[in-house]
Subunit: 357 residues, 3 copies
């Protein structure tokens, strides 16, 4: 009804796939490949990749038909056919996309969807049963609005973008082209802004009249939230990838090509430059600027600005090497404390003796 | 279909707005104001606010028509029209509300909603397409039940409360008047309670037969959860504001007028007094009491009770000044450790010499 | 329409309930019990439990009709009727289940649900209005698919499993028998996998062609997510219980009978053994193995493998006793730092004097 069943996998010659990723085959390029898998899971007909020396044992034991390896890889004896490439991980992604079943959707608006007559829906778009598309919204070419999705008034959904299921994109917000929003994503809920009035007493709501704007090629994981701004825009930049259960507060600007792992939280007005990476459960206090290409480790708590290219972890964040060194001795802190007091006593004793005539 | 388009902004005289917030105009009170914005974003016709000395530069550069300033503010030369008020932040909230577009909903139950005949729905309430309203539930005056929202059996939704979209309020739970529940909120999922039975083995579910009760004037952010209690009630008190992705465990009592920032987690039976604030990603172990007006910083881990008015941060939580001082030297811990051992050696040397005849 | 109203509570003799849990009544076993409650909330006709010495005062003050106590419990004077059992907590769970109102659902597919003709739905299953059941999926006996739930293509839902509301189980994934998935749960969203291509530049998606498989007797809390794997399976093992807002990354294997408290995050390929417990907001970096029966405290950050039976807390995780000792002195670190420098100066002074002729 909604999508065709998975397309059958079509086998391709290894030499053809190698050419696709600019790779050099070491072995028999005429063998057929019909899928990809990890070194451990791969079997005959499957292509795998070797990206890190720590998987050397898995490589030796792999039953894969062929393996993508770095250009620097020195041939070891064995039956494996190899494909030398610049980046095995990237080449794996490219080849995997060749075999990934495409979900195809029949264009058209389901009669079981609820669509306002003033909504502009491209003829090639798909609106599935149970979707709700509000007045004056726009749905782009080949876009898919899944079951239980809510598109608010005047919201726009770009070409080739898919809202999988139970996604909410609230009024006036926009999502760019080629985006993928997983179930439960909420774009444009009110930012969290209140002013306390002691005379009532009450927290008085500061109306959140801005929007959230998600640029092209963004993926947002299940149940993640991007709040609308107080005024102006909250922005998730082009090509940024966001994992599940992430919070992007109001007025944040998440630079292009950034990576936010699961459960990251960005307080209001946080700015991330280009290509920033934040590990799982990391957070940033509001109004910080995190510079281009900075890497913030998991569970870190960013309290101030972070320089371009910095690699920090912890709370407070520190260089990774420092963090590991602190982690290695932290449990000895009580002993250090005790030791210092013992040294104090012994030193005082010596000092006292010195005073003696 | 569901709501009228935004009402056009109507310009108001500054003097009139100043009167509304008990402010004194320094400059031309007859100028027209048609909106609000931050110091940086504001332009002609817009009112802004100056709440903290750290925005002094932004104030000097602002193109706002007028700016709300504290009563203590000393006039500096410049073209800006000022409005002196007790709290610029609060006055800004009040004025912003004047200009915020009201979303108006046509009363009535959509034929595309699924409503049990035994549900009591006020004639002025709106139930939008795709909503599901169960048996014996009650929907108050002017309440709005958005698309994809689920109201369980015997649940009650108060007057003027809005469930935006894809909100679930489960059976027997209640939400008060003038509440705003953002998309994905879940009220009344089962609390997390199991007893281990080694003879099976299995975790045996402790039925969660209590409810969750949300009092009046509460706002709850996207994808936040308030669990039902084991027996009795989980309570979110009057006027409390909860941000996105927050977890309120079973049997918690969150005092009135509290503020829970994004991704806060309260384990079961946590009690928060009046006006408690918890920063983003902070958590509390179960059965703790956090006193009135306590402030718990972001990412803190509350392990025990917290006194009224305490301001703590960290894990374990400590006074903010202590936290900052610890943060400032934490990365030197390995060096301190090394230093202490060196002192030990040197001291032992001296002690040894002392023993010499 | 969807479920019968709560069944009225039926009173049972205490002796009968005691027999059910293998308990010995101390007092009048003929009294009638019609429900359960905590020591504080319980009144006449209600059974409570005493599981920990810290509730001694609550026990003394309790108005419960009878109280489940450990076998070791020594009778104290007072009017309370007691029931001695192996585990009061477990016995309480068993008795509470006797009184818990069963929600009964009328079998059948609602005409207001959207169900693909190729879906196999057991005649005893219930598909409620607003549910969406895709092609080639299977819904087991007595299963309940609630409003706003999405079941993807070829997905399977086991016997007696309930998807409460707004739950998404994506294509090809499976949920076992007797599972309970609370509102907003997402099973099978894409794992978070990208390879960076500097030539575009872009994060290239690694297709997530595996599945997520949830075994029998699993409960998953509101808005929690279990991602599908890159290839192969993400697994949540039999009898595991997951709280709200938890993230289980792609290719994780969560062993049977594990407990994940709210807001826990497991990065990709984390493996949990049997009976692992993780406290609220704890996280694990990817590719770690956490051994059988390990207990990881709240907010911990697991950086490496954890041995069977280990009980750790903190970041880095350490034994609980160590953690408490570190926590007790952490705020004195600045003072220790200062002290060490003072000792250095005093020691240098003594050393200098020693040099003197």
């Amino acid at each position: 009804m909604t999508a065709s069943p998975r397309s059958p996998k079509t086998a391709r010659r290894l030499s053809e796939l190698a050419a696709l990723v600019g790779g050099e085959v070491i072995g028999d390029g005429s063998c057929l490949i019909d899928g990809v898998a990890t070194l451990e899971d791969a079997g005959p007909g499957q292509l795998s990749f070797f990206g890190s020396p720590k998987y050397k044992r898995a490589l030796a034991a792999s039953k894969a038909q062929a393996v993508l390896v770095p250009k620097s890889f020195v041939r070891v004896d064995g039956p494996l056919t190899l494909v030398r490439v610049e980046s095995p991980h990237l080449a794996f992604a490219r080849v995997a996309q060749e075999f990934a079943p495409a979900q195809r959707f029949v264009p058209g608006v389901s009669p079981a969807a609820c669509v306002d007559p003033s909504a502009q829906i491209d003829a090639s778009a798909t609106v599935l049963p149970g979707a709700f598309v509000s007045a004056l919204s726009k749905i782009g070419a080949r876009a898919v609005i899944g079951p239980g999705c809510f598109v608010g008034e005047r919201a726009t959904i770009g070409d080739d973008t898919r809202l999988v299921a139970n996604v909410s994109v609230l009024h006036d917000c926009s999502v760019g082209a080629r985006c993928l929003l997983h179930p439960g994503v909420v774009i444009g809920a009110d930012g969290f802004g209140f002013a306390f009035d002691p005379s009532v007493p009450a927290h008085v709501k500061i109306p959140q009249t801005g929007i959230a704007r998600v640029e092209d090629d963004v993926e947002i994981g299940a149940n993640s939230c991007v709040d609308r701004s107080t005024t102006g825009e909250t922005v998730v930049g082009r090509g940024t990838k966001i994992d599940n259960l992430v919070q992007v507060g109001h007025n944040c600007r998440v630079g292009p090509l950034s990576i936010l792992c699961a459960q990251v939280g960005l307080a209001g007005s946080t700015e991330l430059g280009t290509g920033v990476m934040m590990g799982g459960q990391a957070g940033s206090a509001g109004h910080n600027h995190i510079g281009d290409l900075a890497k913030i480790g998991a569970q870190s708590g960013v309290l101030g600005d972070v320089a371009d290219g910095a690699e920090l972890i912890g709370s407070p964040p520190m260089p990774v090497r420092d963090f590991m060194r602190v982690a290695a001795v932290l449990d000895r802190l009580p002993e250090i404390h005790k030791h210092v007091r013992a040294l104090e006593r012994r030193l005082a004793e010596l000092e006292k003796e010195r005073e003696k005539p």
